[in-house]
Symmetry: C2
């Protein structure tokens, strides 16, 4: 420990700060303008790129040097490599023919918000660390709550509050932790192994993962089978049986994760009935509306959140369908102190005038990490640049395009819808052919998906529900128009013709 | 459940996609250029803004409408509000006189990388979701490992690997989970309550928090007092006593968190000795070098990582000192399968050709969440735009400015250094005055800090170690030059004159 840097004899040259032009404003201006043009041209020409990348594993390592350069390289050189080496390996999530997973939508508005978020590079872990970050987030979370017609119990202007998390995973984790520590503070940590959590087998895979992270005994994580006859929604009767069996066995029901718009088929759990049941057992109810919740800004879809006043927390991700760029998930909690009691830190080096009072919100106590970016600025820019009505129109137009695709599927006797379309996802497949078995049907559908994606024209993904392999076609990319949907259906049909000819 | 959106009769007007100009490339181009100029001007005029915000709690809510607008608003209107309402509430982390916490540094290079990260809005949860994201991250993590002279056991070109996390909190959480599940898979989850974790009381507050999140029994989280005579480093002898007592009590030592550059004083735990000790007990050793690790790209500071080959994982944050904008923390692990065994998900809807093989990395299994942004692009831009030598110069110049400040403090008999300066942090305070007690000394120092920050000229923060209240002066903001440091010292001196006159 005897060797301190102060003993080091610095090379004079290295101390000349002029050598490195960190952030000369005019240099910044020129280069940022150059990159704006690069991006505008990229968006303009996006349809010239394949929607799905066609590279093979390991493609990039062979094109890259093994070490970082010793000397500076020019922006032109870097952008050339971005164009030649990186872009070919990017699955184009911004492509109008990206219909996979749940699309992540973008907008000029959010891009500008992101530029300013980066510009300030301020850190909002506590109020004093940069007051505007905390205060704008509170305002915007309340604005968005009003758009969703959430009850006052989830708003700062009421008795609750909201926070931006990176993704639903983090949102669910902090709610499980709030629920866990609320119970353990009463019954003692030695009973942690008795806590049980519930969700349907259609809940996103992050539900199991976050429960395990929070230390829930893996044997106590219930994935309750949802059935085709319930349109893959969680059945209250089945849930009741699971809970009763656990209570009977001396276990402690802790947490229930419901979904409004499951990943495989956009199934919707009935919040009203399930929350009534859970509340009888003092179970924390969380609603994961990552994708479907965005549609609830339209009055005609708001009923999917009916009963929301009975739950403890709700999360939804404007980075999916509301044009915000990743990552931006909004979490609302009815009783923020449950979360902050679990996650609070109060080290001396972060204390200040208001830190020991309740007069300000400390968002570090609402999340896993300490530091936080000014991400809500993106949502602020979107809400103001669009206004509520345009955002509603945006959701409606995507659903209308999905209806178009649904009609096209229905019009072709070789195909069938696997479940009714509810939002902008169409789940479809080639029907089982006479004289062929289910596994052959799956093989044909797999082949169709692979061929669609290998054209580069469009990107679709798949799932399996109730043993049925299905193709997922989700409208959600910002640049998608009805013509893209129609053209993609033509590609699907042509490939189907070829595949069925070979049978 | 009977009411489906397909029954809804959409208003024709709302289906006209032309109504909302989501991302017209020329509209995007014009607005993004406008915001580039806004930002370049902001950086140019940054010294006209106070370093520390002077607003009061609740200032923003009264200036904001209670709901989002129904109709679109113009970019000019929004930028005006950013200027008038938001910027006054921002503590300017990019200000050259920002010396608080650990500064978060920025650069033109990383800004351009962030613009492209946003542009693509691609999601790197698995290889197929956007191959370039996974592959570039692997390349850049190896590049950075070479710069840090990490052994091959932490590199993809060796037997380990690296991953970008948002912050150190997430990095530490995933390593605790890897350690936890490695042990519980052998001894059974019913012994979870016996697991014990160790860190010094100088470890960042996130250490306790992440251990609690992972379900470690709160009584089993050891915060071992570090002493002034050890320069606040964790003592191997003391650690040994704690471990022996726990083993004696039938508990199971699990995890040790070491720090290279603690938050309060940049103390450095001795990796070599402490890892030797921990390895005898099969304890997972993690090194948190969030701030200090960045200096280790310079050969003369690399010794702070001596012994790193003996630990299991290392994290450090280029978003602090290497110009990357938040959030970008690099985590290296020797045995990635420990982490991925704990965090792996494999839902049907994310399966693809390579997902059941080991031929590709799935970064979703290296982190808490599922989705992930293209953040490594910022580090890629920094490494290429600067080159290794310029980045070393950058670190050295900041340390040299800190040495300047240290000399100024030493030259004034009213002040003292509380601990030796090691990196770019100077811990100092007004000495105890003859005839006054320790608490009065603290009061004077608190007053000095408050007055410095309330001038708006500069921002400093504080800590308390070994009962001593100290002021922290960290050089780390991109725009800081030696003249800023000298001027800030003059401000400190003048305020001190006034304060001591009043005594």
């Amino acid at each position: 420990m005897g060797s301190y840097p102060s003993e080091f004899n610095p090379v004079t040259k290295s101390l000349d700060s002029k050598e490195v032009e960190h952030l000369n404003p005019e240099d910044f201006r020129a280069k940022a303008h150059q990159v704006v043009d690069f991006i505008a041209d990229f968006y303009k020409n996006i349809e010239n790129y394949p929607a799905s990348s066609q590279v093979q594993p390991g493609y990039l390592r062979t094109r890259m040097p093994q070490t970082a350069p010793d000397k500076p390289e020019s922006l032109d050189a870097i952008l050339k490599d971005v164009e030649n080496d990186i872009i070919p390996g990017i699955t184009q999530w911004v492509h109008p023919n990206f219909y996979g997973y749940f699309p992540a939508s973008i907008s000029s508005a959010a891009f500008l918000g992101e530029m300013l978020c980066a510009c300030f590079n301020a850190n909002g872990f506590s109020w004093v660390a940069s007051p505007a970050l905390t205060e704008l987030e509170m305002v915007v979370m309340d604005w968005f709550a009003v758009m969703l017609r959430l009850p006052k119990c989830f708003m700062f202007s009421g008795t609750g509050g909201g926070v931006v998390q990176a993704t639903t995973s983090e949102a669910v984790l902090v709610t499980i932790l709030g629920a866990r520590d609320r119970v353990l503070s009463k019954i003692g940590h030695e009973h942690a192994g008795k806590l049980v959590v519930y969700g349907s087998d259609q809940a996103h895979s992050m539900y199991n993962k976050q429960c395990k992270i929070a230390g829930i005994h893996p044997q106590n994580i219930r994935s309750i089978p949802a059935r085709l006859e319930d349109e893959f929604a969680l059945s209250p009767d089945t849930l009741r049986k699971f809970i009763e069996a656990d209570v009977e066995a001396g276990l402690i029901p802790l947490f229930l994760c419901l979904t409004v718009g499951t990943t495989s088929t956009t199934a919707v759990d009935n919040i009203n009935d399930l929350a009534d049941l859970a509340n009888k057992y003092n179970i924390w109810v969380h609603v994961d509306a990552a994708y479907g919740g965005n549609a609830c800004i339209c009055p005609e879809y708001r009923h999917f959140l009916d009963g929301i006043e009975k739950v403890d927390s709700l999360s939804l991700s404007p980075h999916k369908w509301l044009l915000c760029y990743a990552e931006l998930c909004c979490l609302y909690v009815k009783n923020p102190s449950c979360v902050t009691n679990s996650l609070r830190t109060n080290p001396e080096y972060l204390r200040y005038k208001y830190s020991e009072t309740d007069s300000v919100v400390s968002y570090k106590d609402w999340q896993v990490g300490t530091s936080r970016r000014f991400s809500p600025l993106r949502l602020y820019f979107v809400l103001r640049s669009y206004g509520v009505e345009s955002l509603q129109s945006h959701i409606r137009s995507h659903i209308q395009y999905a209806i178009t695709f649904e009609r096209l599927v229905k019009s072709d006797g070789r195909f069938e819808l696997v479940v009714p379309r509810r939002f902008s996802l169409v789940c479809f497949r080639l029907k089982q052919l006479n004289g062929y078995d289910a596994s052959y049907t799956e093989l044909l559908n797999r082949k169709l998906l692979e061929q669609v994606n290998s054209t580069g024209h469009a990107l679709l993904t798949h799932s399996v529900v109730g043993g049925i392999y299905l193709l997922r076609f989700v409208v959600g990319s910002t640049l998608t128009e009805e013509r893209h949907v129609i053209k993609t259906w033509e590609v699907v049909k042509e490939l189907t013709n070829a595949i069925l000819t070979e049978v």
